[in-house]
Amino acid sequence: MLSCRQIGFSYGAVPVLKDICFTVEKGRFCVVLGRNGSGKTTLIHCLNRILHPTQGQVFIDDKDMTSLSRNEIARTVSLVPQEHMEIFPFRVIDVVVMARAPFLGTAAAPKPDDYTIAEAALKQLHAFHLADKNFNRISGGERQIVLLARAIAQNARIMLLDEPTNHLDFNNQYHLLSAIKELCRSTDLCIVASMHDPNLASLFADDVIMLKNGRILYHGPNQKVMTPQNISALYDVDTRAIPIGDRKQLFLPKQKMGASDT
């Protein structure tokens, strides 16, 4: 379980996050939505102390995160980062095995056991065939899968994802999110992911946090929060809902799109 109590963050004098309170239970897939610059990435980075919140506390179960060492945090919280252009042509397996760093001594290199764990993580995502390839030369979708495998190999109870579906094609977006959802269910993982597309959130999320100007606008279970009114307020554009059955709905702006053809 991950919970934030009134966290705030500012870059110098500029406040980016204010008064953020929420809790994500284990086995729940929580999506953070918001416009560009709303503070999504900053929030994700505050959740594993890549950034230190300037106010409030983050709790893992009932432990204040400030009382944990960086290694302890890394054993509990994994991150699938947004930027992933590497400079050196590491093999995929070498990238995945880096997940074992928090379990190894400072001077130690990964051992055969660690490689076994890394291989298992790749197999779990049906990506073992990539193991020997150059990480820089696989596709963006494959790279995102590899980074997800690394987060799995980190064996943490909480997983953070920073815009995991960015730059992915239609197929890969659904493939990746299904894999994440499956993981969340099968291993009781607690997941927080920032995303741009409210429709993907509507299809996959259990809970949704709507972030606007660094504050939580709405927060709650998917069906309750994802309404045309809330989404209109979040993105400053009039939105309508399109039911697609199964108690799910998609959202589109109300205004006419493209050139008028009447």
Binding site: I50, M98, A108, A109, Q154
Partner: protein, 341 residues
């Protein structure tokens, strides 16, 4: 595991080449020394037998000039090469060399200052050079720390500021130096040469090279992670700021001692890590030892060439630049499809 050659065999092979380079280097120079004579020197040292009179001079040259010089080439070559590899990982930029934080510029200014102040005071040039090299790095780190956002880019910018400042100071020193006497001294010093090397230099350099080398090999896996950038390093449980500080400090000391003893020897820190990476792969546990061996081989051979090509000795910095630049061009071409340029 087929992408890169197994490192054991590669290291063995490079070890043999290093041995060969050392032998070549010991034999080359203006005074020819035959291998039988070297054996005689060895027996003389071990058993204390008298040497024939004509060999006494040769033995002095061999023991007090050539041997320390070869060992120094080996130590400086590895030190410059591995610190280049570490800098490239830390700055996430394969085009970075250890000069980026101004260590060489500071060293050069210090040496020039020493040369015009009192070139006859033993060791003053080296001490001033070392002192200003480390000062330059401290200034870069301090400036970056005051700015304290986007740590890596700010470090590079701070390094450029400090480097330009020390280059300007160097120009001031050059301008006020005596153009007939002191200026040529400064210019030759900057070109880099192993001709001044003595056993004291070897004894100063050796601990820095050894400590740095062991540290970098031991932290190889951490270097891999640091090269992914601060966000990922932190999310994998590391404190990138602390590691960066330690690694920059150690490699700057290695470079500062090298430059203080031998002047600027260009290109090794930039080219050799690339060569090592294309032989052993990018993983630092494997490529750092390969980098060290290649750096030693390269400088030994370059120095042999510097001693043998013409009757007057050529500064070795010219040889490394003349060969390094085309080699670097070749590696840019060869690695064009691996996604690191």
């Amino acid at each position: 595991m087929s992408l890169y050659r197994t490192s054991g065999r590669l290291l063995g092979l490079l070890g043999l080449i290093l041995g060969a380079a050392l032998v070549i280097s010991l034999f080359s120079g203006r005074i020819p020394i035959h291998w039988q004579e070297m054996v005689t020197f060895g027996i003389h040292l071990l058993k204390g037998q008298d040497l024939p009179a004509d060999l006494v001079h040769k033995e002095l040259v061999f023991l007090w000039i050539r041997l320390p010089r070869c060992l120094m080439a080996l130590l400086v070559g590895s030190a410059l090469a591995v610190s280049g590899a570490v800098y490239q990982a830390l700055f996430r930029n394969p085009l970075v060399s250890p000069d980026i934080l101004g260590v060489s510029a500071g060293c050069t200014f210090g040496a020039a200052l020493g040369l015009i102040l009192a070139s006859n005071v033993f060791g003053l040039v080296q001490v001033l050079s070392f002192f200003f090299g480390i000062t330059a790095v401290c200034l870069s780190l301090g400036l970056a720390r005051m700015i304290s956002i986007k740590p890596v880019i700010v470090l590079v910018l701070a390094g450029i500021v400090v480097m330009s400042f020390f280059n300007a100071l160097l120009m001031v020193v050059k301008y006020f130096s005596d153009p007939y006497d002191e200026l040529p001294g400064i210019i030759f010093w900057v070109m880099g040469s192993l001709s001044r090397v003595s056993w004291e230099h070897v004894a100063t350099m050796a601990p820095f090279t050894l400590v740095g080398l062991i540290l970098f090999i031991v932290l190889g896996f951490r270097l891999n992670i640091l090269s992914l950038g601060d966000i990922q390093a932190k999310s994998l449980g590391m404190n990138p700021g602390l590691f960066r500080f330690i690694l920059i400090t150690v490699s700057s000391f290695m470079v500062a001692v090298s430059v203080a003893c031998c002047g600027q020897i260009a290109w090794i820190g930039l080219v050799i890590p690339h060569m090592a990476r294309s032989l052993a792969g990018p993983e630092h546990q494997k490529m750092i030892p390969v980098t060290a061996l290649l750096g030693a081989i390269f400088l030994l051979l370059a120095d042999s060439a510097a001693r043998s090509i013409s009757s007057a000795e050529i500064p070795v910095g010219i040889i490394t630049a003349l060969t390094g630049a085309p080699i670097f061009g070749y590696f840019l071409y060869k690695n064009r499809n691996t996604g690191w340029i």
